[in-house]
Each structure stands twice: as structure tokens, then as C-alpha cells.
Amino acid sequence: MNFFEFLQQNWLELFALTREHLFLVFVSTAFAVLIGVPLGILLTRRESLQTPILGTANILQTVPSLALFGLLIPLPFIGGIGAKTAIIALALYSFLPVIRNAVTGIVGVDPKIKEAATAMGMTDGQILKMVELPLALPVILTGVRVAVVIAVGVATIAAAVGAGGLGTYIFRGLRQNDNNLLLAGAISSAVLALVADFAVGQIEKIYALDVRRNKTAQRKRIFILVSAAVLILTIFTLPFVLNFKSEISNPAIANQTIRVGSKDFTESIILAEILAQSLERCGVAVERQFELGGNLAHNALLAGQIDVYPEYTGTAFTAILKRQPLTDAAEVYRQTRREYAERFDLDLSPPLGFSNDFAILVRGEVARKNNLKTVSEAVPLSKNWQTGFGQDFMSRADGYAGFSRAYNFNFAKQPREMDLSLTYRALAAGQIDLIAGNSTDGLIAALDLFQLVDDKKYFPPYQAVFIARGDKSETLRETFAKLENAISTDEMRRLNYAVDGEKLAPKVVAAQWLK
């Protein structure tokens, strides 16, 4: 599928994401301006506050965006997942240029003019309103312009906390190794940044001194700008007004809506989609809150922001309950289920039938040449291998440290810690030699990778289950029963490949499977 076909098929979603993106940027910039400009004015009145406040804004801006999102998640009221957190993070980023330009603009007004204003008997408020703000406006607007461009860029990260936006395509593209998605996300956000920059630049021009003096020219520019804004809004909103009318109009089932979440990788999305569609077939209203990064899904479940999401027993047992890894699948399931009920009032569904274990992968050609079958056989060859692992594998209890100890690996080079989805690509390209992937990953076959057998049974079993809030288990029970043992490992690998390899939408793949 080439890029244009992709756009043809997905333009509606692309528009939706663009609209979300615009919404995030607009609201966060509005916040930054509403708080930042008054703060900037205050700083010109109380100079002693300048260093601490500008310093804080400065520090905020140097915090890497992903880290800032992460730091906000556990906070009450302002944290959590979704648009709210994203808007707060974006606003924090936008503060610095807004505040700094407000201060610079106001301080930069010719002192002679301020002296004249004071000497004419203007009050401080009148000087601010009639002299300082109008004269500082071009500088303040430049700050807003910078803030908007920063916000458009940083908002792509917002997808990691479930706020949507064009970052969704970028993250998904990275994960699924799909250039069309990557391009669509990246180009759209770049275009958006340029358009936003241009638009605020036009507002800046309206308030430039020479245009302000010419009322007709100013009115003309305002008219053009407002028409352009209305046109853009219509383009991005109209398809949804037409499309979504039917979906909202069923208040009867709205109160028993089930909010289905998923983690941010293909398999989790497919499973969540299968669950969502099964529920919809039973007449249950579903709200999708997919692609939550890291442990967000679990936190969102605890916080009541979602009701159910797909998880793996091994992950729940080691990463969330912080227990030592066990190898007996049934035992892990039993203990996890009991502890989840006791500690979190969360319910585990019956196993779905497959498990997604860690898969130690090498290039197929390397495996064939050296006749490798098991991990132990690879140990003697591996001295000069470069390994690469996802952040998750590097840090978890059953991850890298224990694994290399159990097999007596002695890698000469430090493992590369990188995005999990990128390790497949790097392995296939020969840049790294051994990775820890997921056994159900469709890319294994697609990229001609070979899974070495875990002959020392180091990795605990990762049976797929759904985890649901206790108060929703009644509604979900019937659907959970239908999905018990319904998906085999091979089947799951095929479903994953349909999405990652054949580039079908998870929605479509799930619907086909349910038939």
C-alpha cells in the first residue's frame, strides 16, 4: 500500500487525530497565555519574583517531555491519563516563552514614553492597559507563536498518556514498523506546526504598529484570518458531525458503558478490540481508551478511568505484584488472581488460551548457519554480540539481569536499551544480534527472525487474560466465558501479523476473527 492509498483509506482517522491535536494545542496555549501573561505583568511589577518564576519556567522546559508526562501521571487532580494531563504538561512547556516575552515586551517599552504616561497623571492600571500592553503586544504575540510551535511538537508525545493526537500515528508507526503511519503522523504534525506558526504570525501582523494605525487594512486582515479559521474548523469537524450522530443517540445503554483500555502494542490493541466488539455485539456500550504506555493501563484501571484491559499473568505477577518469577503457569494464574482480588478489588478473566512469553530472537540466517535451536547453544557464540532490549526488559525482575545470569551470558558490549518495536528492525538490519521480543509477534515470521528455545525455563509464563474492575465483572462475565481458551498462540501470531505485516486495522482484524 503506498502512502496515497493509505491516506485515502485513513483520512477520516487522520482528521480526527489532527482535530485532537489542534484541541490539545489550542487549549494548552490558551491556558499558558491566560496564566502566563498576567504572571509576566506581575513580574514587571515585582522584580524580585523574576528570578524564581522565570527560573522555574526555565527548568520546566528543560524536563524531557516524556518524563514530564510521566511525572504528572501519579498526581491527584491534575494527573492521570488522557487529554487533561497532556494539556497541563503542554501548558507547562508553553509558559516560558509566554512569560518571558510578556516581561521583555513590557520592560522594553521606551522609558521616555512611560515617563510621559506617568507624568500625564495616568494610573498604573491605565499605563498598563493604554500604553504598555498595546506597545508590548507584538513581542507578547511572538512569545505565543513560539509557545504554539513548541506545543504542536510536544503534543505528539501526548499519545503516550492516551490523549490522542497525531502522536498516535507516530507511536503506532514505530511499533508496527509502518512507514505510512510514521509519515502520516510526522508530516501532519510538521504541517500543523507550520500552519500554526503562520496563523499566529498573521495575528502578530494585525497588531503590528503600522497596521494598527490603518484601520481598514486591519479589518481586512482580521476578516481573512477569521474566515480561514472557520474554514479549517469546518473541514476538520464536519465529517464527525455527519458520522457520529448515530453513535451518540442511544442514552439507554450509555449508563452501563464499559471503558476498554489497552497497552500500547499491537497484540494488546487487538485483544482489547476483540473484547470491545464482543461486548458491542451483546448490546453493551463501549468506550475505547487504547494505547496506554508503560504501566498506565494498570494505573488507569485502579483510578477508575478504564474498566478492563488485556494483561499477562507473568507481568501482573512480577511487575505489578513484585513477586519472584515462578515457572508454573497455573500457579502464577491462581496466585495473581487471588492477590488482585485482595489488594486491588480487580478481577482476572479466564486465560484466553495463548501465552506471550519473552522470545529470545536472532536472525534466521544466523540460526541456520550455526544450527542454533536453544538459548544455551547461543551462549558460546555470543561473546562479541551486540544485544538490544526494550526498556521494560532491562528493568523488570524477570528481565535482562536474571536472564544473562541464568544462562551465563557474558556479553562484551553493553546492551542497547531502546524502544522494543525498534529492536526487531535493528536485529533484522544486522545492527544488533540478539533481542528479547514477544513470542506472538507477527514480525518474527515477517522479518525472518528465529526464536531460541528457553531450555532453562527461565521465563515465567505470560498467559493472556483480561483484568477488570470488580464492580464491572457482572457485565463482563458472559463475554469472558466466550473468550476462554479461544485464541491459540499460532492464531495470535497470525492476528498480529495481519496488523503489523499486512497493515490491516486492528478493528478489521478483530471483526474478521469474531466471524
Binding site: 521616555k112 515617563e115 506617568t118 507624568a119 500625564m120 497623571g121 494610573t123 506597545l135 504598529l209 494605525r213
Partner: protein
């Protein structure tokens, strides 16, 4: 401008300002400095200033930069407050006045006019009337009157912006703005300093006539003795934060104070320059 040109000439050519001065001596005191000191940190900017300014006077504060003349001026409309001592306006200490009311009663003109660049000429002139909530018709009328008074055609200039004016025109607007709310007292901080010689001399003369005509009191800061002679009914020579001479222009000429003598030395050169300027101006008008 409709000043009586003959008046200006007489006033300038025959500096018998003693007569005017004695008249002023009997009029009420508008501004009075009593033992005023002004310090910034350890630096003494003004040292024991005592000064009375009578209604109808044009008092010149003369001195080199840093002598405290601008500081003295700013104490009058309370842009700054004395470290010790008191400044009285119409018999009331500046610190007991409502600052805003005080300032709106005093016209203020500064170098480069200090016009608001985003206000038209008319808006600049009507600034204080606007702050005082005059009604629109009265404001318009007053603005036109003021522009007329300073020699600018209201039809032509009211809707222009400061950047479209020459330096001299801007300064005229500055004077019109200061006069708009009809204050009795005008403060001027080297208003003509940045203008070219011909424009400066013209404005100085017109201004002198105008102030006398309107019966205003004015305090005028300059470092140019020539300007002081053209405009002043009294000259206050300042040095290192003190008033070293406070007398009529006539008596200033006779003074044997070294600093006064040094100033008088400069005036020969200036007078020469001015004759040349006059000649030039005539030749230009003839073309």
C-alpha cells in the same frame, strides 16, 4: 501659530525682563522647595534646595548633566519624592496631594516629546482630557484649539501618527498635549534639545510668547544659556546638586561667579551661530 510676532521680538531684543520679574515677585507662590535633599543610596543628588517660583514666571534650571536640574523638576510633579525637606505646590506639600490629581494639573513636556507611538496626534493631545472623561465634542474642540495654538493645522495633522511628523512637529504636539487640560504650571525637560538649530530657535521664541500670552508658570530645564536667555524670566544655575545662582537674566550677565562666567563665554559663539542661522533661514524662505 497665531502668536504676536512683534511681541516675541520685543521680548527677545530688549531683555528688560526685570520689569516682568518684579511683577512676578508680587504674584502668589506656585512652587516652593524647602530644604530639599535627594539621595540615591550614599550619593547626594540634591543638597539643600530652597526655591520659590511665582505665578507667571518662566524659571530656567540651568546646569551641566548630572547637576540635579532634572531631579529638581521631577520633584515638582512627584515623579520622585524628596529624601528630606518638602516641595509645596500651591501651598500644599506634594506628598499630601493625590499624585494623580497633582500630575493632571501640571503639564509635562520632555525631550523627543514622549508621544505615544500608537496614538494619533489628536489622541495624544486629548490624553489628559480623555483621562478626565471630558465628553467627545469638548475633547475634539479642545484638541483642534491646541493644535491651532502650537501652529499645526488640525485638519492636516489630527489623524497622523508621531512617526509621520518631523522632530519640530512632534515637539509642538508635545506642548499641545501638555496644555490640553489647561494646567497653570508647565514642566519642560530639555524639550528642544534634540532639534536642529533653526527649528529650535523658532520654537523657543514661539513658546516664550505662548507661555506669556496664556499667563502660565513654567519650569524649564536646559543646559543651554542661550535658550535660558531667550525664554527665562529667572535663571537658577545649578552645580553638583546645589543652586549656585538664582537671579534675573540681566543680573546673570553681570555675575562674576566662575561657573556663570564660563557659561557666558559660550554665548558669544552661540550668538554668532544664531546670526548665521537667521541668514540661512532668510535665504531659504526667499527661494
Amino acid at each position: 501659530m497665531r502668536p504676536r510676532k512683534s511681541n516675541v521680538k520685543m521680548f527677545y531684543q530688549l531683555p528688560k525682563s526685570i520689569r516682568i520679574f518684579t511683577m512676578a515677585e508680587e504674584s502668589p507662590i506656585i512652587v516652593e522647595f524647602r530644604a530639599v535633599n535627594f539621595e540615591i543610596g550614599a550619593a547626594k543628588i540634591l543638597d539643600d534646595i530652597n526655591l520659590q517660583i511665582h505665578k507667571g514666571e518662566i524659571l530656567i534650571l540651568l546646569g551641566e548633566s548630572g547637576c540635579g536640574k532634572t531631579t529638581t523638576l521631577k520633584l515638582i510633579n512627584r515623579l520622585i519624592e524628596p529624601t528630606s525637606g518638602e516641595v509645596f505646590i500651591e501651598g500644599k506639600a506634594t506628598t499630601s496631594w493625590d499624585t494623580i490629581i497633582l500630575r493632571r494639573r501640571i503639564g509635562y513636556v520632555l525631550q523627543e516629546a514622549g508621544l505615544f507611538p500608537h496614538f494619533s496626534v489628536a489622541e495624544n493631545v486629548a490624553l489628559v482630557p480623555d483621562l478626565e472623561n471630558w465628553d467627545a465634542a469638548k475633547k475634539r474642540e479642545r484638541t483642534a484649539e491646541m493644535l491651532e495654538l502650537v501652529g499645526l493645522n488640525p485638519q492636516k495633522f489630527a489623524d497622523r501618527y508621531p512617526h509621520e511628523l518631523s522632530g519640530g512637529q512632534r515637539q509642538r504636539v508635545g506642548v499641545a498635549r501638555a496644555l490640553a487640560a489647561n494646567p497653570d504650571l508647565l514642566l519642560l525637560d530639555e524639550p528642544f534639545g534634540a532639534l536642529d538649530a533653526i527649528t529650535r530657535v523658532n520654537l523657543q521664541k514661539e513658546f516664550a510668547a505662548l507661555v506669556k500670552d496664556l499667563g502660565k508658570t513654567a519650569v524649564f530645564v536646559t543646559h543651554d544659556l542661550h535658550e535660558a536667555f531667550i525664554l527665562g524670566t529667572r535663571i537658577c544655575l545649578m552645580d553638583k546638586g546645589r543652586i549656585v545662582l538664582n537671579d534675573t537674566p540681566e543680573n546673570f550677565r553681570q555675575s562674576d561667579l566662575p561657573l556663570a562666567r564660563a557659561y557666558l563665554e559660550t554665548i558669544l559663539a552661540t550668538e554668532f551661530t544664531e546670526t548665521t542661522e537667521k541668514f540661512k533661514k532668510n535665504s531659504i524662505t526667499r527661494k
